[in-house]
């Protein structure tokens, strides 16, 4: 498997897909800053903090992983190259895990590429951030777990559908659905948080519980949301990577329930990998 890993890493980093995505990330991260810079100049703003935007890369990682995984791993089935790997003595599980490792590393590189490009550009254009660098690093470390979970989910789809075109379509649809669910959840659960925020300046973890005894999510209104429905939404609020990324961008420190987020990300990675690899092992390949 080590030989396969070496070959796959070489293929990934010499391939067009990775570098096109890297270029897209560079352009996106710097152009966000450039647009903001023009706006600031036009409106004569003096204090600009771009902290929230540092995590936009995490919000879009689902879409990027959908494209990368479908092209990198899904192409194996269209071009029939998975046959060479099997004939070369690799097990189907080994091939699956190898794709997971390569795709995860590639996506984590893209995640950090966005962050550092954005950080450098933002620092040059606007100066200091609210977040300390160590908090940024901690949040991005959490983001690595989420990126791997999203990649594992996309890989599971790709290895089961076994076609680049179908995989791109299904993975992109899944990424869009996750984004919509994430945004809808944030909007619903944090509906009243802005009103409460107006009263409280900095919310300590202790105050979360006092301010809202019905949910740890700051701002949940118990009259419209309670019981199992609330419990499910709380799990998704912690577990969905889109929700996590949005929460990173609105906090100045590690978000409340960050341990849950880490556990959910690891669980998603393990479960999707288990389902994907077992299913892939049983599939008849052509």
């Amino acid at each position: 498997m080590i030989k396969l890993l070496k070959a796959e890493f070489a293929r990934c980093f010499s391939g067009k897909v990775f570098w096109l995505i890297a270029l897209f990330t560079l352009v996106t991260a710097s152009s966000f800053n450039f647009i903001k810079y023009i706006t600031v100049k036009r409106e004569h703003q003096t204090e600009v903090f771009n902290d929230g935007m540092l995590y936009i890369g995490l919000i879009s990682i689902g879409m990027i992983a959908a494209i990368f995984v479908a092209f990198h791993a899904g192409g194996e089935f269209d071009e029939g190259t998975v046959r060479n790997k099997l004939i070369a003595g690799n097990a189907k599980t080994g091939i699956y895990l190898c794709h997971l490792a390569v795709s995860s590393v590639a996506m984590v590189i893209i995640q950090y590429l966005f962050f550092f490009t954005f950080y450098v550009c933002s620092y040059l254009f606007f100066g200091a951030f609210h977040h300390s660098f160590s908090v940024m690093m901690q949040l991005h470390l959490m983001g690595v777990l989420g990126t791997i979970a999203v990649t594992a989910f996309m890989l599971m789809i790709t290895m089961i559908v076994r076609s680049r075109t179908i995989a791109v379509t299904v993975c992109m649809t899944a990424a869009v659905i996750m984004f919509v669910i994430g945004v809808a959840l944030i909007n619903e659960l944090e509906e009243h948080s802005m009103e409460l925020m107006a009263m409280e300046d900095i919310i300590s973890p202790e105050k979360y519980a006092i301010l809202n005894k019905y949910s740890y999510v700051y701002g949940v209104d118990s009259e419209s949301l309670s019981g199992t429905k609330l419990a499910v939404k709380e799990v998704l609020y912690d577990g969905l990577f889109i929700c996590q990324a949005f929460r990173f961008s609105s906090e100045r420190e590690l978000p409340y329930h960050w341990e849950f987020m880490a556990v959910y990300n690891i669980a998603i990675t393990l479960v999707t990998t288990l389902i994907g690899s077992v299913t892939f092992r049983r599939l008849d390949l052509k």
Partner: protein, 304 residues
Amino acid sequence: MEYIIKTNDLKKNYRSFKALDGLSLNVPKGSIYGLVGRNGAGKTTFFRILCGLQEPSSGDYEIYGVKNNDRGIMKSRRRMGAVVETPSIYLDMSAQQNLKYQCRMLGLPDYSCVDELLKLVGLANTGKKKAKNFSLGMKQRLGIAIALVGEPDLLILDEPINGLDPQGIVEMRELILKLNREKEITVMISSHILDELAKLATYYGFVDHGRVVREMSAEELENSCRKCIRMEVTDTVAMARVLDGMEVEYKILSETTADVFAKLNFSKLSEALAKENCEVISMNEHDESLEGFFISLVGGGGND
């Protein structure tokens, strides 16, 4: 005789469809083994199983004496190369990059074999041209070159001449013969173009409905292919009456042509035909082809 591949009552079902229904065959070492069968007979399914792409529903097979459920089967597979259906190549890579990738995957210490293999398959001058811009024949040859990385002892080729032009077919034939004779690679090959297969194979396995109907060497096949006299006459109905009277085996091919499978006194035959007002136009000695033998073995009828 030493066998490289042995299968025992191999079965593969796709829901209710039996792709392989008790396939048992043996591939002798050093042979060019031609797998002959109609579309849907189970040839490609068999190759997929050998390559580890699919698991058999029941039965077992051995590659170099290692059974499919033994742990060592993956190591045994490393000794083979295969091109099943379409060549397995990365289309956005050049021929050289494809071979280097295969070298890396097999853990070869260097890329010294790359140029040699490209030369062997006639792709030495393709430079940085991407595989997606290759002709079908070039892709086939690149597929074979990839299969040859790591110096395998066994090469599996599924319909390697499909879609090739006449020159491509000749080149492919020469390449396969060269690999078999010079590098002593055992080749297992399936093809629909039976006349072409007859120019290569030293062993045959005839497959029908997922079973091996018969296995034989090229010499045995030659002996089994019956010689006959192909006669062109004015009235084969009259000829049939005469031949029935002489208790001779024959086959009517058209209104004017028939094959006669017996040693005959042709003076007496022409005399008897004349009495039936049937004239003999021509007579030629004719060998039954591999195609004819296959048809007689599995029966006519359409493809499934």
